[in-house]
Amino acid sequence: MYPEADFLPVSGMQHMIYCPRQCGLIHVDREWEENRFTAEGRVLHERVDKGGEQEKSGVRLCYAMPLKSLSLGLFGVADCVEFHKIEKEIWQPVPVEYKRGKPKLIEADRVQLCAQAICLEEMLHTEIREGFLFYASPRRRETVPFDAALRELTRQTAMEYHAMMESGVLPKARYRKDRCDRCSLFDICQPKAKSAKLWLQKRLSEDLT
């Protein structure tokens, strides 16, 4: 159980899965650079961030719902939580997360959604078996079952996230083509950087001869 003072934003979970250093840059070093991908994500969220509720055909939609979990030590806001009417006075919560682009191979989006589900389970004393990821292109909903493996990965990620924030030490950069080239923090992270010490000595001695 984490005290509320140590809660971390749930949005960091997807960064942690994508790249722990990216997570450190954003959440420890407070860096943020916008690029096309982040701008698209921001625009996509403008509707859901307005909040509010609506109900249609047995489904109640709750936008921008605040979340927290003592066991994961996380807080945040769900894009949308759907409450499906199962029977009279019994509503099943289902988290929905909006994402730009197409379904991704890495687990980042699923882990973030699972963390939201665990928050909801704690808050509403219920059990949630699945949630949805809504991808903007193609406009498609993906069902995410919250199985044991995904829950375990989510808990593990939350622990590593807390350990990194506690130490304040950024994980070392490691260049990975599939992730680094589309990361908006590439120039700040400099995954291809060399030793500054050796570079300086070399340049100063070579250029003076």
């Binding site: 420890v28 070093d29 407070r30 650079e33 304040g168 030490v169 950024l170 070392k172 120039d187 700040i188 400099q190 950087a193 030793s195 500054a196 010490k197 570079w199 300086l200 000595q201 340049r203 100063l204 001695s205 250029d207 003076l208």
Partner: protein, 341 residues
């Protein structure tokens, strides 16, 4: 790398700046109002009696736009500061490093090495273009010798001593960089408060502009611009900005001063001498021209020697600040000063 944004210089006396939605509205004493979108502006520098609404100040703070007020001669008055940026762990690391003798000594030596290297590049450029003079050759030798020694130095006082030495020699050779044979551009060493000749007036103006840029760059990455390594702490002094200025002066200020004079972009008639104080300042229209030249210089592109990125020259302070922050946080094994090609 993030795009180089523009700095808005307001030099019209009596101008008043306010916020209108996402734009900066500039009201002048005569003529129509102007509106400039804040998007694409990274700083506002106001000279003399220029006013600004608190709403615009707050908006600038929120958007990370640096606002600085200077007197009409370019002396620093005040800077508008929003909430502190960046990481408290970084500032703590900076303070700790400043208290460790060999760590701050190594950093001081790196700043000085960068400075002497770039001063030497300025001399070599001149030798290459116009042939050598005894003063240029002699200073070049002295600088080379000091740079070699600096790689193994770990104490601030030695670094400071070398910096002082080298700066004297560099400024004694500086007149040889000026190819214009006009007594108006004679130069016999640095003087300021006030600058007493045209060359010093230009150098002082550019140093003020560079301090502004370096300071915003340091604060943007979350460093405390007042806690330096080469320059000791002194209340009110942006010591870290002055540290980082050392390596950038030859690249930004000295070079531009020399080329403005050599290319006759400034003339003797552009300067005014105050009969009482002897202070030399730029006349209004010429100052506008000189500020435009400064902005244009910052748009030149080059390849950063350490990161190998192609960038606008104006982003150098920002990249150096970032590299320093990374070093202080233990993410990079040293601080690579900007070495000018």
């Amino acid at each position: 790398m993030k795009p180089l944004q523009n700095i808005l210089y307001i030099t019209k006396p009596g101008a008043y700046l306010s916020k209108e939605r996402e734009t900066i509205r500039i009201r002048l004493e005569e003529g129509p109002d102007m509106k400039i979108p804040i998007h694409g502006i990274s700083g506002i520098v106001c000279f003399g009696t220029v006013g600004m609404s608190p709403w615009l100040m707050g908006f600038c703070a929120e958007r990370n736009v640096a606002v600085t007020f200077l007197t009409d001669t370019g002396r620093f008055l005040a800077k508008v500061h929003g909430p502190l940026h960046g990481n408290v762990l970084l500032r703590r690391a900076q303070y700790r490093a400043a208290d460790i003798a060999d760590k701050s000594g190594t950093l001081a030596a790196a700043f000085v090495a960068g400075k002497l290297y770039n001063c030497r590049q300025a001399l070599l450029r001149c030798i290459r273009d116009h042939g050598e003079t005894p003063a240029l050759r002699e200073t070049e030798k002295l600088l080379s010798d000091r740079i070699r020694k600096l790689t193994s130095i770990e104490d601030c006082d030695t670094a400071r001593g070398m910096e002082g030495d080298a700066a004297r020699s560099y400024f004694s050779a500086f007149p040889d960089l000026i190819r214009k044979d006009d007594p108006a551009f004679a130069f016999s060493g640095r003087n300021r408060r006030p600058p007493k000749d045209a060359v010093n007036a230009l150098l002082s103006l550019f140093y003020t502009l560079l301090v502004h840029d370096v300071r915003s760059a340091l604060e943007t990455v979350g460093l405390d611009s007042a806690v330096g390594f080469l320059h000791k702490d002194r209340p009110g002094r942006p010591s870290l900005a002055l540290d980082m200025m050392e390596e950038l002066r030859p690249v930004f200020c000295d070079r531009l001063t020399v080329s403005l004079i050599n290319r006759e972009q400034v003339r003797a008639s552009d300067f005014l001498t105050n009969p009482d104080s002897g202070a030399v300042t730029l006349e209004d229209e010429a100052r506008k021209r000189v500020l435009a030249a400064w902005q244009k210089m910052k748009q030149e592109t080059l390849t950063h020697p350490f990161t190998d990125e192609k960038i606008a020259k104006g982003l150098i302070p920002f990249i150096q600040a970032r590299l320093l922050a990374r070093h202080l946080r233990g993410d990079l094994d040293g601080y690579p000063p900007f070495l000018w090609r």
